[in-house]
Amino acid sequence: MAVVFDRPHALVDIPMHYCPGCTHGITHRLVAEALDDLGIEGKTVGVSSVGCSYNNYFYFNCDMIQAAHGRAPAVATGVKRSLPDNIVFTYQGDGDLAAIGTAEIVHAAARGENITVIFINNTIYGMTSGQMAPTTLLNQVTTTTPYGRSAKNHGNPIRVCEMLATLEGPAYIERVSLHDIKHIKKAKEAVRKAFKVQMAGKGFSLVEILSTCPTNWGMDPLESLDRVKNEMLEYYPLGVFAGEDLEV
């Protein structure tokens, strides 16, 4: 019998701890498929961050390093400068990357550090139970914006791709979404391209992945996917922000 669908080798065969309907599982699979397809699992070092995916070193089969909150790009810099022929990626959420780790991501991007960043934007802090993130949309209710995020009190959400694309360093920046199969396929291509950019030594690559958090949004999984499509895409347009013409 022909096998048409299997677990990627780069994913460990154990149950994940993520909530039902959370899209972390899909993104893990996309990263693992890229490592498999490109044949780079053995030379890849991943850097986990702080957030719901803090322990994804249990799930990825490549060597993994767990970093302090927001510091993954600095840790990845240390690894890549030590092992320039290896492949290094970080896996960071929006609180980690766009709040506490703003300096680290901006300067890694500015240096054109030859690493790949997988950036999960679900407009909320998941692990600490639903606080406002730098990406939380205006009027969105969270546990720390119980009356909704207001531009006056909390400022406007940060568009990370657009911000980083103002720098000269990044080789490739794209925002993708996981709200339906068609977009998951596009996300898969983007993740794959990001790793290929690094393999070609072109420099900093980042894929922002619009994701869900059904538990902290107070929605079921399908409603959550609808929210990505109906609310997030408007503020966070999909597309390539750097390296559109880059062939790898």
């Binding site: 240390g78 400068r81 300096a103």
Partner: protein, 352 residues
């Protein structure tokens, strides 16, 4: 016979690191240690190494965390306020059992304090500094020659015990020039680094570097393993110098640049007929309790001298445990104790 050169303390630290096989240095400018970064910026590209000026001390120590995770000999350096910023990363590296060398060329605090020499980061260096139950191996050189030798040793100790080793100097040592005799070859310990995250090449299980253990029972076991390691270090790695202590009625306890002043005091006191000796801790952690046991029965009193309000004083008092009187004199953040001031204290103790 190796090279004999006149060099500045900070530059010697950098040169020693390179000789010890360090090829990765991540730093951020701060007075009075910046010459380390200058030297690394010039030298590292010539020896195939990496010098990177980070965007902050926080990033620099996390780059160290990455390079150490990859199994490389790596160093960062800073001065007091910058070392405070590095404490998060030092705690994580300690939790993850990563070998690395951190240099603190102390200046006066608290806050921005000043840029003149001080010893007021003793507590921070020897009691943990960041959060959690951990220790650093803390080496306190008192000459440029010792900056060289102890920096090489710091890399070996860090690798051997998989932990952070700190060179705790001060602005005097960093800025002064002295002759240093280099060895032709360094005694480099070749430690096992099979734990490193450097790509498994599909030949082994994947390695993980982490400091998080959410299961409290597992975390306790992890901590107990760390404590066991620290106990071994306390037994095996204490270092100190005893100078004219055999017949000393009063023993000065001082480290780093202050120990040099204290040595002058020993000479001046003896010329005046006062039997004074010096106990100089070289490892501040582990604290050299064995040195105290050697002299405890013979001496009458201890006098701790520091460029702080009396931080090492607490370890001296714990070690002496009331068996002999312990006195203190010192100057605060940026002011250097004078021979006359210390002599006055010795005369006061002698008269008492």
């Amino acid at each position: 016979m190796g090279e004999r050169l006149l060099m500045k303390g900070n530059e010697v630290i950098a040169e020693a690191a390179i000789r010890a096989g360090c090829r990765h240095y991540f730093g951020y400018p701060i007075t009075p240690q910046t010459e380390i970064a200058h030297y690394m910026a010039k030298k590292m590209p010539k020896v195939g190494g990496v010098f990177l000026q980070a965007e902050s001390e926080v990033s620099a120590i996390n780059m160290v965390y990455g390079a150490a995770s990859a199994g490389k000999r790596v160093m960062t350096s800073s001065s007091s306020p910058g070392i405070s910023l590095k404490q998060e990363g030092i705690s994580y590296a300690s939790g993850a059992q990563l070998p690395a060398v951190v240099v603190n060329i102390m200046r006066g605090g608290p806050g921005l304090g000043g840029i003149q020499p001080s010893q007021s980061d003793y507590f921070q260096a020897t009691k943990g500094g960041g959060h959690g139950d951990y220790r650093l191996i803390v080496l306190a050189p008192s000459s440029v020659q010792e900056l060289y030798e102890l920096t090489v040793d710091a890399f070996n100790l860090a690798d051997q015990y998989r932990m952070v080793a700190m060179i705790l100097g001060d602005g005097v040592l960093g800025q002064m020039m002295e002759v240093v005799n280099f060895r032709d070859e360094e005694p480099i310990v070749d430690a096992d680094k099979s734990w490193a995250a450097c790509g498994h090449g599909m030949k082994r299980e994947h390695n993980t570097i982490t400091s998080i253990h959410l299961d409290p029972a597992v975390l306790e076991q992890w901590n107990q393993a760390l404590q066991k390691k620290y106990k071994t270090i306390c037994e095996k790695e204490q270092r100190y110098e005893l100078y004219k202590t055999d017949d000393a009625d009063i023993i000065i306890v001082a480290y780093g640049s202050v120990a040099r002043i204290a040595k002058n005091v020993v000479h001046v006191a003896r010329e005046e007929g006062l039997k004074v000796g010096l106990l100089r801790p070289i490892t501040l952690w582990p604290f050299p309790t064995k040195a105290f046991e050697q002299v405890m029965d013979k001496t009458r009193a201890f006098l701790t001298v520091e460029m702080s309000s009396g931080q090492m004083l607490e370890d001296v008092m714990l070690t002496v445990s009331g068996r002999k009187p312990v006195y203190f004199t010192g100057r605060m953040g940026g002011m250097i104790p004078r021979v006359d001031d210390i002599m006055a204290k010795i005369k006061e103790i002698s008269a008492g």
